[in-house]
Amino acid sequence: GGKTADTGSASAASDGPTIALLYGTTGDFSFMDSAYKGFTEAQQEESFAPLELSSPNTDDYQDRVDLALSQNAALAIGIGFQWQQPMSETAHPDTAFVQVDADTGTVIDDVTTISFAAEQSSYLVGVAAALASTSQHVGFVGGVDQPSIQNFYTGFEAGAKSVDPSIVVDKTYLAPLGDFTGFSDPTKGKEAAASMYAGGADVVYAAAGGSGQGVYEEAAASSTDAKKNWAIGVDADVYQTVSDTIKPFILTSAIKNVDVAVKTSIAEFLDGSLEPGEVRYDLSNDGVGYSTSGGFLDAYADQLAAIEKDIVDGKITVPTAL
Amino acid sequence: MTDGQEVLVRLSGIVKRFGTFTANDRIDLTVRAGSVHAVVGENGAGKSTLMKILSGEESPDEGTIEIDGAAVTFRSPRDAQAAGIGIVHQHFLLAPALRVWENVVLADEPGPPVLIDAARARREVGELAERTGFPVPVDAETEDLGVGTRQRVEILKVLYRDARIIILDEPTAVLVPAEAEALFAAMRDFTSAGAAVIFISHKLDEVLSFADDITVIRAGRVVGTAVPAETTASQLARLMVASEMPVVTPRESPVSERVVLETRGLTVAGTEAVPLLSDVAFRVHAGEIVGVAGVEGNGQSELLAALIGRADATGTVLLDGDDVSAATTVQRRARGMGYISEDRHRDGIVLPLSLRDNAVLGYQQLAPVRRGPWFSRAAAAKAAAEIIAAFDVRGGGPATRAATLSGGNQQKFIVGRELLRSPRLLLAAHPTRGVDIGAQAAIWSELTSARDRGLATLLVSADLDEILALSDRILVLHRGRIVAELDARGVDAGTVGEYMTGARGGEEAA
């Protein structure tokens, strides 16, 4: 989130069309932050009047869509699959709609839906985890037991098993469906990871938003001379955001380029090339991927590249939970 | 009055207002060292308020306090304690979950700073109790104690702080005669050592035999002073409330033969092997008052609870020949049982509610107040107005909150509520506890006239005089058993007292 001290004036700051970002609240260390980042970056690169319609409430999606229309937004970008219903039910003759993070195969009239193949990037980090693991035992910490997070697991497990079918994959969700504290409870994340590392796992993939912080801390804290433990981040390149003492334990991150999706949609809209219909962000168009910061994957770079190519070419079909 | 002995306390021109109400209106009071000074007056006269001012709990709006001839200002009870004043409140101020010794030493704990030397505190309290003749179980939790013991704890709190001026606000209202005697004896020891005792009571014979000086207060003002030797109870009573001493009109009709209440083998199990009430059998006839005497905690409470249907009791209860042993409280009340509870503030009346709402308490399931599912507020208000008029309840109308009534008027209201329904059987516990002479006279006359109309009454009271005055027959309860059944006309307080303490009776009666 950004502090914007220039207040008082409504969105007349810059010329150009009004573009609205409809989102929840930032600070989820996940795609809301990433989307917001894309939106702010776009503001620097393009000329438009930004309109941020954020709300922590889950029951006012329709209100925000209406608000965007009432503010004459030329483009409204909704972050999250919940925008599907209001966007499909609202007449918007003068406004373009983009729905980010839709389910694969979602087609809405006059709406651009963007979906991510998160299972593909998870598959690749699963491969990386299996390659890096010396104990042939890896783990997965999910924030909330919901389909989007299960999808990470499905890809991760398939990737790990593709390297070693007998590999052990632990799995823990920090909170049940509907309880979003699982995304913001690093204490639990840390203890879940601690249990896995102590049980023999040496790579743990954290798809747990803010709780992931606990997993990263635990990877560093539980590593000994005898056993090096790794953590794998999610959504953004975690290596860039954690402190220097933890960097050496971040094997890689599965990346979901929500910011790119937002930025690209805005750019396409401004140059008139944004089309309604489904856009899929996957490995083939760098919509998802994995990070190599720290160089810990250098040894497996060729293997990973080959597998990535197989996925893009369709030789490997990654299972999905969605 | 201040003949030679030095004056220990002098209050002059004390005024205290509560909002629009003036509770103390220019009161003067002089207490000599080595004397017992009684303050009497009707309910709500302002006695407790005056004592709270002297003990530093309230500050006067006007007037001065002198101790030992020096003017003092009390900002808090601590100041008053430093000046040697201790008070035993009318309503006990004990923390129920705290142990006895903790209640005693509270805010004045022995030991190094910050800490409490628990062993020393317990020892000191134990020794103090022994020395002064107020035995208490030092380690017991206060809520497990009976009233008599709680009273002793309150007194120990005062003595522990080395008070020279001891205020007792209605100390004997809840004590049986033997306990009261012990209290007076102990107080005499203090006064002979130079301390002063200020003492409030509605029992005028007690005042006359125990006090050295008497001050009478009415409506917040001093209306007279007296010395016991030169005055009589009825003079005092006239001074207080402009009414005569309560007298019992002799019964006009003989007791009827009709049995209204009969119990057989009534037993209430206790926590231990000893039952709280054991195999109690008796009868009450129409037009008869049967008194139940006993030292507090010998089964009176359980007996009433069992009869009204609040206790898990075994045995048979017959009301007018019908077995009501399995009936609920509501059913029993519907069949004509009235109940004046032991502790009006606990279960007799709901203080925050209006008199209107209190007027139907216990009768809420019956017509006229119950109309289908609806609560008839008009009927309730009518009942309240009737009670207020018929029983001379002063201090408000149906809309008044019960809490703002004085204790005596609350009591009259309860008696009125129970009698208004013309019950067949009245279970009356301590019907005049803590009420002034005027109210006592009123309540007694209501009870006797109801008796003459044929009401059967079971009267439990800690006040033996009351039992002797009102009852036709007396049952004595000791350790949950009836140890004696006496004809009230031929018996004196001493004999009853012996049965009560177990000195007489025992096997042959059981």
């Binding site: 204490t187 049980g199 | 910050v114």
Partner: protein, 424 residues
């Protein structure tokens, strides 16, 4: 009832203490035995592994601290529904202080953050006599809103900070282990080796002891030390006695010259400071403030306080139960089964004992039924994995169903006591 019983009580004390010690010892042994059986039956080595017990310890601390803090306030007569908010204040304060002062200063910041809301609660409840539930609820809402609002102003611009996160706190408070047992101060770690051997009985014991004594953060030790300290304060100090009195019958305290308001203020503030400390402890784990990281622990603390019947020992038992089941729920599924097995067995044993002692069917039957259900669940039923996340709540509820005794809240809890002579 009337005789002074000073002497017998004094002589009875040691023997009753010994009896209590013996019964505690025997239940610990029974529990350990059941644990071993469960471990074998459910094939759940996690039940006695040092990692589970270490986790349990770390998860217990914040709940124990916040609950024991609430104990102060409630013992003094002030209902504390605002614990969650005070903890949130603690996390934010810890994030702020820790950012420029390191971990120890973070803990202080946590205390300060809690105190701010404690002061608010004290003033509103004690001076103005506002409804204590309202104030508590309002503090929870206010703290969450303020934390985000202020983060936006303070943390957003900082390196590594955002609207939902403070910059990272570098370093951590030292961790200690027992020397010569769990490898403290550079000594060898025989317990770890023993745990690894897999010797029956000894190896699980080594796991448990090792888990509880290895690499324990000083912050956790301080937090846990607050429990015996509180017991001491409550029963052995003047402040403790006055606090209990002002929660039971403030008028009695005042009539004896005590200061009800002073006592209640101190209690509310001490309690809020502890709640803030608990927040700071969470921040140390995540090495920084993370929005919403309190995650309902304030409410759990309140529940634990009631579970513990407003007693320090009970609070510890409640939070340990909660922390242990939380740790187990975060671990492997078979460990969860094992725990259910232990619990079920305990209930069945308890029900049997109650039946034998003829305490009546009402006491015995619920524990027997619940015990049987848990045993069946542990051994046969397929358990949805989501159930593990509810483990601490289910376990606590089950224990309440079986154990539930008359709770004894402070009698003046929630009752406003106006300042003396307010009529003037």
């Amino acid at each position: 009832m009337t005789a002074a019983t000073t002497a017998p009580a004094a002589s009875a004390a040691p023997s009753s203490e010994r009896r209590r010690a013996r019964s505690i010892l025997s239940s610990v042994l029974l529990g350990f035995g059941l644990l071993l059986i469960a471990q074998w039956v459910c094939d759940a080595p996690g039940l006695s592994s040092s990692s589970t017990w270490g986790s349990a310890l770390r998860l217990t601390v914040p709940i124990a601290v916040v609950a024991v803090g609430a104990l102060y306030s409630e013992r003094a007569g002030v209902i504390n529904v605002g614990l969650e908010g005070m903890m949130i204040g603690g996390t934010w304060g810890a994030g702020l202080f820790g950012w420029f002062g390191g971990p120890w200063v973070a803990l202080i910041g946590g205390v300060v953050g809690g105190l701010v809301f404690g002061l608010l609660m004290a003033v509103l409840c004690l001076e103005l006599g506002l409804n204590q539930l309202v104030v508590g609820v309002a503090i929870n809402v206010l703290a969450a809103a303020l934390a985000r609002f202020l983060s936006d102003i303070v943390f957003s611009g900082l390196d590594g900070g955002s609207v939902a996160r403070s910059p990272r706190i570098e370093g951590n408070v030292p961790r200690v282990s027992l020397p010569f047992l769990s490898g403290g101060f550079g000594t060898p770690d025989p317990l770890r080796d023993l745990e690894a051997t897999g010797i029956p009985v000894l190896s699980p014991l080594a796991g448990i002891v090792g888990g509880l004594t290895r690499d324990v953060s000083l912050a956790a030790i301080i937090g846990l030390a607050l429990i015996p300290l509180t017991a001491f304060v409550l029963w052995r100090t003047r402040f403790g006695l006055r606090m209990r009195a002002s929660g039971e019958e403030p008028a009695a305290l005042q009539a004896l010259g005590g200061h009800v308001h002073r006592t209640r203020y101190s209690a509310v503030l001490v309690g809020s400071g502890m709640a803030g400390f608990a927040g700071g402890y969470l921040v140390l784990i995540s090495q920084g403030y993370v929005e919403n990281q309190v995650a309902g622990r304030g409410f759990i603390g309140l529940a634990t306080l009631i579970f513990g019947n407003w007693m320090p020992g009970g609070v510890f038992a409640g939070s340990a139960l909660f922390g242990f089941s939380d740790a187990v729920g975060l671990g492997r599924p078979e460990t969860f089964r094992g725990m259910l097995f232990v619990l079920g067995a305990v209930f069945v044993v308890l029900g049997g004992v109650r039946l034998r002692r003829r305490l009546g069917a009402r006491a015995a039957v619920p524990s027997l039924i619940l015990g049987a259900v848990l045993l069946v669940a542990a051994l046969v039923l397929p358990l949805p994995s989501a159930l593990a996340t509810a483990a601490p709540y289910l376990v606590t509820l089950a224990v309440l169903v079986v154990a539930g005794t008359r709770m004894r809240p402070p009698r003046a809890l929630g009752r406003f006591f106006p300042r003396q002579n307010s009529s003037r």
